[in-house]
């Protein structure tokens, strides 16, 4: 012991209290998860939700219009379906790589890629839903004097809703999952804490962020199921 180091002064800086779980890098440390919620987990979760919401919304608008178009002009269904399927088959990382030279390491790059993956699912759902409207219902509606728009908005689209909603559900769950890869482009979303924790490695951080992504997928799916129930009361009606 030298005089320069008075007793009681630790030679190793004190980084504060850490639980045994954290020190031993346990599989999941609840105390650390709770204490770090507001800095490590909540901001990425929020940005994750926003990225998914933007991607699914834009994807829905594009795919919905494409679906309507393909329904009205049958010959377009093949080409549009093939283009959308092609986009869907691209590996997400490769697509990011492809886009970066044009749109940079930006949210735009991420959203373009995410939207591409939602298209084929929602497009097919819209088309299948509209084509699934029973012929006798369509014939009765036309025979009663509904014009083309009335037929679409009063009959065909409402009856296509169950199919459209299940398409949006699948697209949403898929997008929640793919958005984690967006962390390779932007430091946002739940992919960001996961990538950092995998390289450290620190279990609680990537287990926690991974679990949040799973829970988010379940939660959004559940919300869409509820939305479907509200919008299509007749599907639950039985005598």
């Amino acid at each position: 012991m030298s005089d320069f180091a008075p007793p009681g002064d630790p030679a190793i800086p004190d980084y504060g209290q850490a639980s045994d779980c954290v020190i031993n890098n346990g599989a999941f440390c609840t105390d650390w998860f709770i204490s770090q919620w507001s800095t490590v987990f909540w901001p990425p979760l929020l940005s994750h939700i926003i990225m998914v919401a933007i991607a699914v919304s834009i994807g829905f608008v594009i795919a919905f219009c494409a679906g309507l178009l393909a329904y009205r002009k049958k010959w377009l269904a093949g080409p549009i379906g093939m283009a959308a399927t092609f986009l869907y088959t691209l590996p997400p990382l490769a697509l990011f790589q492809l886009l970066v030279p044009f749109t940079g390491l930006s949210l735009l790059t991420v959203e373009i890629a995410l939207v591409c993956f939602t298209l084929v699912i929602i497009f097919q759902a819209v088309l299948v839903g509209l084509s699934g409207v029973p012929d006798d219902v369509r014939r009765a509606a036309t025979g009663m004097g509904l014009d083309r728009n009335q037929l679409l908005f009063k009959v065909e689209l409402p009856l296509a809703l169950p199919s459209i909603i299940s398409g949006v559900r699948i697209a949403t769950v898929l997008t929640v999952s793919i958005t984690t890869i967006a962390a390779f482009v932007v430091d946002d979303g739940l992919g960001s804490p996961i990538i950092k924790a995998v390289s450290s490695p620190f279990n609680t951080q990537f287990v926690g962020a991974g679990a949040l992504a799973v829970l988010l997928a379940f939660a959004l799916d559940g919300l869409l199921v509820l939305l479907g129930r509200v919008l299509t009361p007749w599907t639950k009606a039985r005598s």
Binding site: V137, A140, A141, G143, D147, Q150, P158, A237, S239
Partner: protein, 343 residues
């Protein structure tokens, strides 16, 4: 009831339809006049063009040549959309909108025509009563999936009648119903038809249904040609050609018996209730009971099953008289031979 309009005639004037790419017409120069308030059945085998003929009227199919008039107005004088809103249309499987309640289904055309809510509500309730779905409050909020086939078809008819159209088109409306429901809905529709007097064009492939429902039957044969047009009794008695005879089937003699009820020949005086005296009761022993509302064909079936020589006719619980086997098979009301009347 707020049924005001009775009906308009429907006139087919050399109406012809040739589908694109088809060598022969689906409907070939059809001339047919359906009088106002009349119920005409279009029957015939598949390929006879009966559904085509029906869909030409509300322009779901466009005429190749010729004309169709409702009243004295050609169907091409107005837009197809406007025309259809003035024609009641009921189809097989009902074609009800699964996502609309019964109330909304019936209100479809009135809502499009911009009726106010109160008028629509009154009309909807009135129609549900008419088709026998009461109390109406029970049925209004239900979805089609919550109804039986027969109930759906009744709602389908109510919907077709909603805007009080002068003309009704029915495309095999009862085709998908089980036999018992079918008879019930047929009877109800006949009663409604008598009450509201809509000119009705009714497509069916079932000749027995046509005989039961129609004022006149139009029989179409392959190639879309009209083979015969006449009252059921006339068609059954005098088929115009071999095709019609074959289409009506070997049982057409029996089918004709379905046009007359037992009550009609009893009250016609062929048998007298007084005849049931002491000696007559011996001859009528073991005769089965039949209702006056039964057709001769049904009564004959009952008599045959009992291996009897005749039947005792009842109406509303009281004995009306008897009919002998001979009365049943050669009824003076529907037949020619008058000597058959019991001495």
């Amino acid at each position: 009831m707020t049924q005001h309009s009775t009906g308009s005639s429907i006139t087919f004037d050399r109406a012809t339809k040739t589908y694109p790419g088809a060598a022969t017409p689906a409907l070939d120069a059809l001339d047919l006049e359906v009088a106002a308030g009349e119920l005409v059945c279009l029957v015939g085998p598949s390929g006879g063009g009966k559904t085509t003929a029906l869909q030409l009227v509300n322009r779901l199919v466009d005429l190749t040549s010729g004309d169709i008039r409702i009243g004295d107005r050609s169907i091409t004088d107005q837009s197809a959309i406007e025309l259809r809103r003035t024609i009641g249309y009921a189809i097989q499987q009902s074609g009800l909108f699964p996502h609309y309640t019964v109330a909304d289904n019936i209100a479809t055309v009135p809502a499009i025509l911009g009726w106010d809510k109160k008028r629509i509500r009154t009309r909807t309730a009135e129609l549900l009563e008419l088709v026998g779905l009461s109390p109406v409050e029970t049925w209004l909020p239900r979805y089609p999936a919550q109804l039986s086939g027969g109930q759906q078809q009744r709602v389908g008819i109510a919907r077709a009648l909603a805007a009080d159209p002068p003309v009704m088109l029915m495309d095999e409306p009862f085709g998908a119903l089980d036999p018992i429901t079918r008879v019930a809905v047929q009877d109800e529709f006949l009663a409604i038809h008598r009450a509201v007097g809509k000119t009705t064009l009714f497509v069916t492939h079932d000749i027995d249904e046509a005989i039961k429902m129609a004022d006149r039957i139009a029989i179409l044969k392959p190639g879309g040609k009209l083979a015969q047009f006449g009252a059921p009794a006339e068609v059954l008695s005098n088929p115009a050609d071999d095709f019609v005879a074959e289409f009506l089937g070997a049982e057409r003699g029996l089918k004709r018996l379905a046009l007359t009820t037992v009550g009609e020949i009893v009250t016609a005086g062929t048998t007298s209730p007084e005849g049931a005296g002491a000696d007559a009761s011996i001859t009528t022993a073991g005769w089965p009971d039949v209702e006056a509302t039964m057709t001769l064909r049904e009564a004959l079936s009952v008599v045959s099953a009992a291996r009897a020589e005749g039947a005792i006719v009842h109406a509303g619980g009281s004995r009306l008289g008897e009919v002998s086997l001979h009365d049943l098979i050669a009824p003076p009301a529907a037949g020619e031979d008058r000597e058959g009347v019991r001495a």
